[in-house]
């Protein structure tokens, strides 16, 4: 039974058209997937349905009538809940306080805390029974925070639940829990909209998919009726004709036997939870992957290799020279460069221009001249923009105006004028649309194979690891527990080893 139907939705922001023809239909008890690149309009669609934005054209039919929500609260009261990516939790309040935030019930004139705590315990029972409801949110891991977000949305017993990339921060076990919970909800008649950049997740949990491209709905595929063809879906998303599976392994050519880089990382703090110890070798031209469940120390390892993780001793040997990396400068001046995991918080100055962002790392060098050679740097900047296909009208535009993928290219680009020896990448393609993802990886592979750069790549999406790495280190609880070689790297194996099954 159709509970929601959005017809010909239009939405623009200033001069930009986000949606020109959005269509979506959701039925009770079914999980509908939304797919599309960044900027395709799928997120805007979710937000319009949830009442965050108001459409400029078209109609939204919900439970048989046309609705116009002025804000998310109105939609919530009507039974539509949207789960954000950790954007609605208050860090200094506890789990249970967050779950009822905004909709607290009263007993008399005071808050009914007991009711709130009971409700929270009931919901978390199914979702994540081990979570202590008294913990403050700032103490939680990203995965746990995501669960609290979901609990918060569910607490009001919505009839339509919109999950906007809920799995981004979750590990496999939590994803499975979530899927199980979603099926239970669907069984109770809740309609669910689910978005993810991971195609396999959508194919596993959704009963139908709606695909967006360039602001319009281009396809609706019902998995009950049609078979699941990933290639076809990808071609709808990117608009390019289907092509044969591109999941070929990269050729070995360009990987030399000589060891470029050896690293020994060891934690010095007794209470250290995230990163305990790791050591490995890296060959010239090799792409070494780091995998495992989320939050097992992969990011921390990369920070340590970049000299920016306090409390660990990081000793490396680069091209035969031994040194200790204690501060970011140590790593940077030897060509060990980090592309951090959170581009907006750690990789960019959002309000500064593309140009300013690109040249910044150079300025930190002690030998850098006092006066900035602007002409020279502008030229260099332009050429990097061209090299990476960064879509921007000019280099003086603030970087906040670029899409996620292009922002990520700027983060990578700022290191390109350096003499890169080892490139550390912390989930470079997270939240990046397919086109930009391809451009980025193309360049990374080029750097490795053609320029002899050693690459250490952490990706949360196993597919990226399968496709682009020569060797894979799997981490668990702060240590490397397995090394997979070329032929052994598959999603299956990675997952199994990450969960210590094999």
């Amino acid at each position: 039974m159709v509970v929601l139907e959005a017809k010909n939705i239009k939405k623009h922001f200033g001069g930009v058209v986000a949606l020109s023809d959005g269509n979506l239909r959701c039925q009770r008890g079914r999980i509908t997937g939304l797919l599309g690149a960044n900027g395709s309009g799928k997120s805007t669609m979710s937000k319009i349905i949830a009442g965050v934005y108001r459409p400029d054209g078209g109609e939204v039919w919900y439970k048989g009538r046309v609705v116009h929500y002025r804000n998310p609260s109105e939609a919530r009261k009507d039974g539509i809940a949207l789960v954000f990516q950790n954007l609605s939790l208050v860090p200094d309040l506890t789990v249970w306080q967050n779950v009822v935030l905004g909709v607290e019930k009263n007993r008399g004139i005071f808050l009914d805390d007991r009711e709130a705590k009971d409700l929270t315990r009931r919901i978390l029972q199914d979702l994540s029974p081990d979570l202590d409801i008294y913990r403050k949110v700032y103490e939680l891991s990203p995965g746990e925070m995501q669960i609290v977000e979901i609990a918060k949305a569910i607490s009001e017993e919505p009839e339509l639940l919109i999950l906007d990339e809920p799995t981004a921060a979750l590990e496999q076990a939590q994803v499975r829990n979530l899927f199980r919970y979603m099926r239970t909800l669907a069984g109770k008649g809740v309609a669910i909209i689910f978005t993810s950049h991971r195609l396999w997740e959508v194919m596993e949990i959704c009963s139908d998919v709606t695909i967006f491209r360039n602001g319009a709905t281009v396809a609706c595929i019902d998995f009950d009726k049609e078979e699941k063809d990933p290639e076809k879906i990808v071609s709808h998303i990117t608009g390019e004709p289907q092509r044969a599976s591109s999941l070929e392994y990269m050729s070995e050519e360009g990987v030399y036997d000589e060891v470029l880089f050896r690293a020994e990382v060891k934690s010095m703090r007794s209470g250290e939870r995230k990163l305990k110890e790791a050591s490995f070798e890296l060959r010239r031209g090799e792409i070494l992957g780091i995998g495992g469940l989320a939050g097992q120390g992969q990011n921390e390892l990369l920070y340590a290799l970049a000299g920016s993780y306090p409390g660990v001793r990081c000793e490396v040997e680069l091209e035969g020279r031994r040194m200790r990396l204690q501060r970011p400068q140590d790593a940077i001046q030897h060509g060990i460069l980090l592309v951090p995991g959170d581009r907006q918080q750690e990789g960019l100055f959002l309000e500064h221009s593309v140009y300013n962002n690109m040249i910044f790392p150079k300025l930190g060098f002690p030998k850098h001249p006092l006066v900035i050679p602007e002409r020279h740097y502008k030229d260099e900047c332009e050429s990097i923009v061209k090299l990476l296909s960064i879509k921007t009208p000019s280099v003086d535009v603030p970087v906040s105006a670029l899409s996620g993928g292009n922002q990520q290219k700027v983060v990578v680009g700022k290191w390109l004028s350096f003499d890169v020896k080892v490139l550390l990448l912390a989930d470079p393609a997270k939240g990046v649309d397919i086109g930009a993802k391809r451009d980025l990886y193309e360049y990374i592979v080029h750097l490795a194979r053609k320029r002899g750069v050693g690459v250490v790549l952490y990706a949360s999406d196993n597919e990226e690891l399968v496709q682009y790495t020569d060797r894979l280190l799997v981490m668990y609880e702060g240590q490397i527990v397995a090394t997979l070689n070329k032929g052994e790297i598959s999603d299956d194996t990675i997952t199994a080893v990450s969960m210590r099954v094999r």
Binding site: V90, P91, D92, G102, K152
Partner: protein, 339 residues
């Protein structure tokens, strides 16, 4: 293979955890200062001097608690001192000596003025989203201007019964029973308790929790459906009420209004909040910690006074002590960060 680290010896870990929290360290400091003052001031435990001490601490306590509420909600109030002055001027302008009913009018009018100042600050901080430092800087001039308009020079009139806010025994018309109670429970203490009660009630309601939510992460709060503008404005109004209570005390004590008396108290109230252990960034900390912080500053002044430090050196010493007071927990927090 896992290496199991032995847990640190229980008492050491326990002590470290307890003392390095900003909250407990300020309580500890208060205790120490209390002890030192008790030693230095010979008649410390006499009823009369306890009352006198309470009287000297009360204004800063009230201002600090109000300031704490605003800070927790994500704001800051640089206008509290001038607002205090303004309220004293309004009170002493409305009241006419010898006409007791004007005291009641004064209470009502000044209360409304106080709410008004809270609304103005609240609109600036909560709705217009102007950085609090700047908007309250602007409004402090406005309050000063109005205060000067009402009372170009200190003065004004006050009714006799208003003294109840300072010293119940001084009011002629009161029955002896009230005077007796008043001699044991200083009105200043009652005012502080009123303030505490007000906050207690608010903190158990939705708005009380929203004050923390908005201060902790305003975007999350907004997206959760909380009216952030209203919440911050409410915090400013609460602050204004606390300042109002302090004004009652001052007029009760001096029977006059002064447009410039409150200035120095503003920054002291902020220092009290920080010394008490509340983060300036907002979202956390108990408001009662501001009380602790104000008491700490109060005792510091007393100690400086009783230690016979020459007048000239008093500001110097108090400045150094404030820095020491906040440096201690901060240094401890630094050590803790290496988790």
């Amino acid at each position: 293979m896992e290496v199991v680290k032995r847990e640190k010896i229980f008492p050491v870990a326990f002590l470290r955890n307890v003392f390095l929290q900003p909250e407990t360290s300020s309580l500890f400091m208060l205790f120490v200062l209390f002890a030192i003052t008790a030693v230095l001031q010979k008649n410390f435990f006499e009823v009369k001097s306890i009352a006198r001490n309470i009287n000297s601490f009360a204004p800063l306590v009230l201002l600090a608690m109000g300031q704490a509420i605003v800070i927790i909600s994500g704001g800051l109030d640089l206008s509290s001192g001038t607002a205090l002055s303004l309220f004293t001027c309004v009170l002493t302008t409305v009241m006419k000596k010898g006409d007791p009913i004007t005291g009641v009018y004064a209470l009502v009018v000044t209360f409304l003025v106080a709410v008004g100042t809270g609304v103005v600050n609240g609109v600036g901080i909560g709705y217009l989203r102007i950085p609090p430092v700047i908007v309250t800087f602007a409004t402090s001039y406005a309050w000063l201007g109005i205060a000067l308009f009402l009372r170009p020079t200190p003065g004004g009139e006050s009714v006799d019964w208003f003294k109840v806010f300072y010293n119940a025994r001084a009011v002629e018309g009161f029955p002896d029973s009230v005077k007796l109670v008043g001699s044991y429970i200083p009105p200043a203490l009652v005012l502080v308790l009123l303030g505490c009660l007000l906050w207690y009630v608010v903190s158990r309601t939705r708005t009380g929790r929203y004050i923390y939510a908005v201060g902790s992460n305003i975007e999350s709060a907004y997206v959760s459906g909380i009216d952030t503008g209203k919440t911050q404005m409410f915090a400013c109004i609460l602050n204004a009420i606390f300042i109002f209570l302090a004004a009652l005390f001052f007029v009760g004590q001096n029977q006059s209004g002064d447009a410039r008396m409150g200035g120095p108290l503003t920054l002291k109230s902020i220092a009290a909040v920080v010394v008490g252990g509340i983060a300036l960034t907002g979202g956390r900390g108990s408001v009662y910690l501001a009380l602790v912080g104000a008491l700490i500053l109060g005792f510091v002044s007393k100690i400086i006074f009783f230690a016979n430090i020459p007048n000239a050196y008093q500001t110097l010493t108090s400045g150094i002590i404030v820095i020491a007071a906040i440096a201690g927990p901060a240094y401890a927090a630094l050590k803790r960060e290496w988790r």
